[in-house]
């Protein structure tokens, strides 16, 4: 195995910029929202169901722009389907290259798109927003165990969509990106943290979902801790190759400061608001959710982290 200290880079940047940055941001949040919603639905109390639905709504709405952003970023947008179908003359069949994160990601998006869309329709029907007999009958097929399995598989795909973008960057020969193996985990942790913050914001507007606020705040804090650990790993893996200066130089350091600032409320909450383990379970002593500012800051931090990683290497 090559030591990072030996790596030299003579590679050209791919100039992935303005369509890719929002894509990475939205994919992280869409995947994270679906995963958290599934946790709420399958492992939470029955009173967590309204918040789970908020998460599923968010996942779908955040997901919709993703394939559009990816497609318009292509040099030939109308050939986006070449990612999935082998168009080599005399070839044929489907394109599936498990060793290529972009190929895996293309399929992951297609399949996750199916799951997030069906779940979106399901919550629309259950919320009484969609009142088509056909949709209602179709959704009933997902009652009980089939629905649980559907959500579970969807959650696995969701975590893939939230994190594969980091692996995509690492599986290259670009400086910074390819000098570390932490980006997949970092983007996933950041996506989960941002999604928890986003759903915390959104349940503010759905009163029956506010029971879940404490759990969402606590989960955001724990995801923030996970994200911090991965940022530390990211730094450690860059040091041997001397890439730290490029990754954290000016102006990127400003974005990293924003990303770090976004972690502080959650980390501070873990320190100051003890996890009170009571007879009723784990609760957050002081669910600081009155303000929208903290979740908003966390979301800005999620974006700043991605901008810093994507642009500093190019």
């Amino acid at each position: 195995m090559m030591l990072l200290a030996d790596a030299q880079h003579f590679v050209r940047p791919p100039e992935w910029t303005w369509y890719i940055v929002p894509y990475f941001f939205l994919a992280g949040l869409a995947g994270g929202s679906y995963a958290i919603a599934t946790l709420l639905r399958l492992r939470g109390e029955r009173w967590d169901e309204p918040a789970a639905r908020v998460g599923y709504y968010a996942a779908f709405l955040l997901f919709v722009p993703c394939p559009i952003l990816l497609t318009v970023d292509l040099g030939k947008p109308l050939d986006f389907w070449h990612m999935l179908v082998n168009t080599t003359p005399g070839g044929g069949g489907l394109n599936f290259k498990p060793w290529s994160p972009m190929s895996l990601g293309s399929w992951g998006l297609v399949v996750f798109g199916l799951f997030v869309t069906v779940t979106f329709v399901e919550v629309l029907v259950h919320d009484g927003v969609l009142r088509l007999g056909l949709a209602d009958r179709a959704v009933r097929l997902l009652d009980g165990m089939p629905g649980k399995i559907w959500n579970l598989v969807g959650a696995v795909l969701a975590t893939f969509v939230a994190g594969y973008t980091g692996v995509l960057l690492a599986v290259s020969n670009q400086p910074i990106w390819s000098d570390t193996w932490t980006l997949g985990g970092l983007f996933l942790a950041s996506g989960l943290s941002g999604s928890a913050a986003l759903i915390t914001m959104l349940v503010h507007y759905r009163r029956e979902a506010q029971f879940s606020t404490g759990a969402l705040v606590l989960s955001e804090r724990l995801f923030a801790l996970l994200e911090l650990a991965l940022i530390v790993l990211f730094v450690v893996t860059l040091i041997p190759n001397g890439a730290l200066g490029d990754a954290f130089g000016f102006p990127w350091i400003l974005l990293w400061l924003v990303a770090f600032a976004a972690l502080l409320p959650g980390l501070g909450g873990l320190v100051t608001d003890r996890l009170a383990v009571t007879g009723e379970g784990t609760v957050v002593a002081q669910p600081a959710v009155a303000s929208m500012a903290v979740p908003g800051l966390i979301l800005i931090g999620v974006l700043a982290l991605r901008v810093a990683v994507i642009l500093s290497a190019q």
């Binding site: 030996d6 946790l39 970023d73 599986v171 970092l186 724990l222 009723e280 609760v283």
Partner: protein, 301 residues
Amino acid sequence: MAEITPGKAYGFFTDTSVCIGCKACEVACKEWNQLPGNRPVFGDGYDNTRSLDSQNWRHVQFIDNVPDETMGGGQGKAWLMMSDVCKHCTHASCMEVCPTGAIIRTEFDTVFIQQSVCNGCRDCIAACPYDVIGFDEQDGVARKCTLCYDRLQGGLEPACAKACPTDSIQFGPLDELRQQASTRLNDLHAQGVTQANLYGHDESVYGGLNAFFLLMDKPEAYKLPNTKNAVLPSRNNFGGWLTGAATAVLGLFAGLIALRRRQPPPSATTPQGTPAQGAPPPAKETTPPAEGSTRGEARVP
């Protein structure tokens, strides 16, 4: 030139010790492949091409290797000149990451980007360790040297090798080229040119390069990765996915900790709650599901 036979491996042997920097290769390449080129960039040196890209599939590097202070004769220092090109690697990073299968290995064992299949995702650009592939803004595809695939199919040697006046660029079957290179290296060493070395002639770099070089300095002097840092993008697949999976598991545990049994809301006995209790008013058909249900089977119809 012997007959060019499909199924046999072909390539370039570029002997930089005889390159005179005339750029005939660049011109021949552009002319045959109808590449308009970029506007020349003039600076401190003779290199106005600057790099390989979508318009420059051959690039003569001028590397000022001579110290500014006067040196005595016979120091052996000279400008390094090298006609750079796609290396047509045996283990090609670009092929590895290409999601569309646009990058293929041809019947001549060269690496070729199918323009009709490429959709311009640019993943190959981030992967190529030689800074070879460029993005053609006009056509929206990635482009690079084809090793004159069309000429090979017609039994012609590539345009750059045909035009090279000093035979710095030699084209032919790989096994023959490797023999020539070995002989040439031995001759140079016998003449005391001990710094001469072969790059990419064996499997030490990307499994072997179909376009390999005789260099007059270390590979790094020519901006080429050496045997230690010539690595494939896929090296990060295992670590990347493993970290992602570990994070997912830890994230799951974090979520489960957060969701441990909590006190029910004040309206637990009346799920829809009442405004007087401060609990949420009943929304339209949004009653939380009954015990044992997952998503509202017992909901008000």
